[in-house]
C-alpha cells in the first residue's frame, strides 16, 4: 500500500528532523476503529508531545500534505488538540494534549495558510493560544461573550449569563488601506438580498477592488456547544442544520462518524439511498447557484430556466423523499425513506428530460458572447492560490485541484462506481460554472447506476449505544466539497464532541484572494460562483 508508506515517511522524517525517538512517551500510533462501512483507508492517529507540534507542521508541509481541519476538546486538566491532514487520499490525525492552565501551542498557519481561521476559531472557543499565529484577531467571537471566556470549555454554561441586548461589534480591527482616491465600502451584515448575513469591507480605487476583508461569525449558533449531551439521533437532526443547503451531506458525514465509531454495519440499500439523496442535493444546489450567477450578470433567461429546473428537482425530492430539501431522511443506522419502483421510475424520467433540456441550455450558454464577456477572466483563483488555501469542491476543481473524495478516497457505495471528475485550470467564474455544469451530468450518471444496482433488503440497522467512549471521523463529498465530521460518543450514548468542518472554511479565504483587481460590481457574481456557507463556518 503506497498510502501506508506515505505516513511512514512522515514518521521517519519527523524523527530525523527532531532527533526524538518515536517511543511511547512522545508519539505512538493507534488506529481509529476500522470503518464498518468499508472506509478504504483506516485513519492513522498519532499522539504527539506538544513540542513535536511544530516539527510535525514542517514535515507535513515538506511532504505536501493537505490541511483538513483542526478541533479541540476540553478534558478538564488538559485540552486535546486534533489536526487532520491528507495525502493521496489517505488521512492522518495528529493529536496532542495541552495543559489547561497554560494553553500554549505552536501554530500550523505559517506552514498551512488554510489553518488560519480554524485556529482562530479554536482560540475563541477554547482559549488555546497559537503562539506564532500571524493573525491573532478574534474570529468567531463578537460581543456575545467576554474576552477570556471560552464557550467550549466545560465550565462555560450553555445558557447565556449576559443580560440585555448584545451590542454590535463595532470595534473589530479591520485592515485599512490609505492612498489618494482610495475609499472604503462597508457591506453588511445584512445584505441587499435573500441571503445570509456577514460583513465585507472593501477598499477600492475607482472601480477596482484593492482589498477585501471578510468578517463573519454573525450566525454563530453555538452548534458545537449544544451538540454536547445529545443522543445520536438528536445529533443527526442538528447536523442536518449546520448548513441547510447541505443538510444531506452533513447528516451523512455525522452518521458515518457515529457508525464508524461503533462499528455499525448499515444495509447496502441504505447506502445507495443516501448517495442518491446526496446527488439530488448536488444537482439542486448547482442549478440554484448557476441561476444565481446568471442573475448577477443580468442574464435573465439563464436565471429563470435554471430556477425552473431547480424547482423540478425540489418537487421530485418532495415526492420521493417527502421533503423538498431532503431534511431528516438520514438517521443513525440507515435512512428512514425507502424507494419504491414508482419513485425510481420518476427519478429516471426526470434525469432523461433534464438531460435533454441541459443539452439545449448548455449550448445556449456557451454561445452567448455577452454572458461569457462578464464571467470569463472574472474572479480568477490561480492553481497556486487554490493549492495553498486547500480549496475544495468545484472551487478547487476549477483551479486545477482535482480532489474528489468519491474518486480519491471512495467510500461506500461510490467505491463500486466509476466516477468522472471534471477539472478546469482557468480558475475564473466561467471555469467554476463549467465544472458545476459537468458535475450535474456526472450526478445523473451516478444516480442512474445507483438505481440500477439498488440492492434489495432493509434500509436500517437498529442503532446501539457503544459500551465505552468511542470516536471516529466521517468524510463525505458534499456538493461544496469534502465534509469532515468528528464525533466522540460516550457509553451512555451521549455526544461528548461534534465538530463538522465544511469546505466553506477554505472557500471564504479564496474569495478574498480572487476578488483582487476585479471591479466592485462583479463582487456578487464572484461571490455566487464560490458560494461559501455562512452558517457552516459561523457554527
Amino acid at each position: 500500500m503506497p498510502h501506508k508508506k506515505t505516513h511512514e515517511q512522515f514518521l521517519q522524517l519527523l524523527s530525523t528532523e527532531t532527533g526524538f525517538v518515536l517511543d511511547h512517551d512522545l508519539v505512538y500510533e493507534r488506529r481509529l476503529k476500522p470503518a464498518a462501512t468499508e472506509l478504504p483507508n483506516t485513519i492513522l492517529l498519532l499522539h504527539l508531545a506538544p513540542q513535536l507540534w511544530q516539527p510535525a507542521a514542517i514535515v507535513a508541509n515538506q511532504l505536501q500534505y493537505r490541511f483538513v481541519g483542526i478541533w479541540a476538546q476540553d478534558l478538564s486538566e488538559n485540552l486535546e488538540l486534533n489536526i487532520s491532514l491528507e495525502l493521496h487520499g489517505s488521512y492522518l490525525l495528529l493529536r496532542t494534549l495541552i495543559d489547561t492552565s497554560n494553553p500554549n501551542i505552536t501554530s500550523f498557519t505559517p506552514y498551512f495558510p488554510a489553518a488560519n481561521r480554524l485556529e482562530r476559531h479554536t482560540h475563541d472557543m477554547f482559549g488555546i493560544n497559537f503562539s506564532d499565529h500571524p493573525d491573532k484577531h478574534r474570529w468567531t467571537r463578537h460581543l456575545a461573550w467576554n474576552e477570556k471566556q471560552y464557550p467550549l470549555r466545560k465550565n462555560f454554561p450553555v445558557a447565556s449569563t449576559k443580560a440585555g441586548i448584545t451590542p454590535p461589534d463595532n470595534n473589530y480591527p479591520f485592515t485599512h488601506v490609505n492612498g489618494s482616491g482610495v475609499y472604503e465600502i462597508p457591506v453588511g451584515p445584512i445584505h441587499a438580498g435573500i441571503i445570509e448575513p456577514g460583513h465585507f469591507r472593501f477598499q477600492a480605487a475607482g472601480e477596482d477592488v484593492i482589498n477585501l476583508e471578510e468578517r463573519l461569525g454573525y450566525v454563530h449558533k453555538g452548534i458545537e456547544k449544544i451538540a454536547e449531551g445529545l443522543s445520536a439521533k438528536q445529533l443527526i437532526k442538528l447536523a442536518g442544520r449546520v448548513s441547510g443547503d447541505s443538510t444531506v451531506a452533513h447528516a451523512w458525514a455525522a452518521c458515518l462518524a457515529l457508525e464508524n465509531a461503533t462499528n455499525l454495519k448499515i444495509p447496502e440499500r441504505a447506502l445507495h439511498i443516501r448517495a442518491i439523496m446526496c446527488e439530488h442535493e448536488r444537482i439542486a444546489n448547482h442549478f440554484g447557484d448557476f441561476a444565481g450567477v446568471c442573475n448577477d450578470v443580468a442574464y435573465t433567461f439563464g436565471c429563470y430556466q435554471l430556477m425552473r429546473l431547480r424547482e423540478l428537482w425540489l418537487r421530485l425530492n418532495a415526492q420521493v423523499f417527502g421533503h423538498r430539501l431532503i431534511m431528516d431522511c438520514i438517521i443513525p443506522g440507515g435512512v428512514n425513506v425507502d424507494l419504491n419502483s414508482k419513485n425510481c421510475q420518476a427519478i429516471h424520467q426526470q434525469i432523461i428530460s433534464c438531460k435533454q433540456e441541459l443539452a439545449e441550455l448548455y449550448q445556449l450558454f456557451e454561445e452567448n458572447s455577452s454572458f461569457h464577456d462578464r464571467i470569463k477572466t472574472t474572479g480568477i483563483l490561480s492553481v497556486e492560490q487554490a493549492t495553498q488555501l486547500g480549496v475544495l469542491g468545484y472551487a478547487g476543481r476549477a483551479s486545477g485541484h482535482k480532489f474528489d473524495l468519491r474518486h480519491n478516497a471512495p467510500y461506500s457505495p461510490y467505491n463500486k462506481l466509476k466516477i468522472r471528475v471534471p477539472v478546469f485550470n482557468n480558475g475564473d467564474v466561467l471555469a467554476r460554472l463549467r465544472v458545476r455544469a459537468q458535475e450535474v451530468l456526472v450526478a445523473f450518471e451516478l444516480i442512474a447506476q445507483l438505481l440500477d444496482q439498488l440492492p434489495p433488503g432493509p434500509i436500517q440497522t437498529p442503532w446501539q449505544n457503544p459500551n465505552t467512549t468511542t470516536e471516529s471521523i466521517g468524510l463525505i463529498e458534499g456538493w461544496r466539497g469534502e465534509i469532515l465530521a468528528f464525533v466522540r460518543i460516550n457509553n451512555n450514548g451521549l455526544i461528548e464532541r461534534y465538530f463538522p468542518r465544511d469546505p466553506s472554511w477554505f472557500s471564504w479565504p479564496a474569495l478574498e484572494q480572487l476578488i483582487h483587481g476585479n471591479i466592485v460590481p462583479d463582487f456578487p457574481v464572484c461571490n455566487k460562483s464560490i458560494n461559501g456557507s455562512y452558517s457552516a463556518v459561523d457554527l
Partner: protein, 171 residues
C-alpha cells in the same frame, strides 16, 4: 437569439394557479389579499427579508417564491433591498446574539406602520438551536412579531399562505 426565443416559447408559462385543495377558502383568500394589497399598499407589498441566524434552509425556500412556478410578484408582493422601502419584514431565526443588534437596527429603520413575520420553526421558537449563550431564540424575543409561519423550512406554498393570512387578519 433565435434558439433562445425558441426555448422560451417551448418552455411556455409554468406559473401555477394557487392550489385549491389547501383550504376551501384559499382562492377567495388569494383574491381578498390581492384586494387588500391593492387597497392598503397601493398595489404592491414590499418585503425585506432578514436572516437573523438561520441555517439558510429558509432562505432557499423564500428564494423559490420568486421562481417562475410561484412568481409571487403577480400578487403584488416583491422583495426590496432596503428596510426603508419595506412594508413587511420576513425574518428567519433563531436570532443569534451576534445578529441581535443588526435585527433591531433594521426593525427601527423600517417605516411605520410595519408588519413582521417570523419564518420557520427556529423563527417561531428557536427550533433545534433554542436559547443559549449564542442564540436569543424566537424572533419575538427580540422584536415585536405579527405572525408566524412554521416549518423546517416552510415550503413556498406555506410561505405564500402565511403572508396572505397575515394580511387578511390585519385587515
Amino acid at each position: 437569439m433565435l434558439k433562445t426565443l425558441y426555448k422560451i416559447f417551448k418552455t411556455g408559462i409554468v406559473t401555477e394557479p394557487l392550489p385549491q385543495n389547501k383550504t376551501t377558502a384559499f382562492e377567495r383568500l388569494g383574491d381578498n389579499c390581492r384586494k387588500i394589497i391593492d387597497a392598503r399598499f397601493a398595489g404592491s407589498l414590499a418585503i425585506r427579508q432578514i436572516d437573523a441566524g438561520s441555517c439558510n434552509g429558509c432562505e432557499l425556500e423564500i428564494h423559490a417564491l420568486n421562481n417562475p412556478f410561484y412568481d409571487i410578484e403577480r400578487f403584488g408582493v416583491h422583495f426590496v433591498a432596503s428596510p426603508r422601502h419595506a412594508d413587511l419584514l420576513l425574518v428567519t431565526g433563531p436570532v443569534s446574539r451576534h445578529m441581535e443588534s443588526a435585527l433591531i437596527t433594521t426593525y427601527n429603520a423600517t417605516p411605520d406602520p410595519k408588519l413582521v413575520l417570523a419564518v420557520g420553526d427556529c423563527g417561531a421558537c428557536g427550533g433545534e438551536f433554542g436559547c443559549s449563550y449564542a442564540c436569543a431564540g424566537a424572533i419575538a424575543n427580540v422584536i415585536p412579531v405579527d405572525g408566524i409561519i412554521t416549518g423546517c423550512p416552510p415550503t413556498p406554498i406555506n410561505l405564500l399562505q402565511g403572508i396572505l393570512e397575515l394580511l387578511e387578519q390585519k385587515n
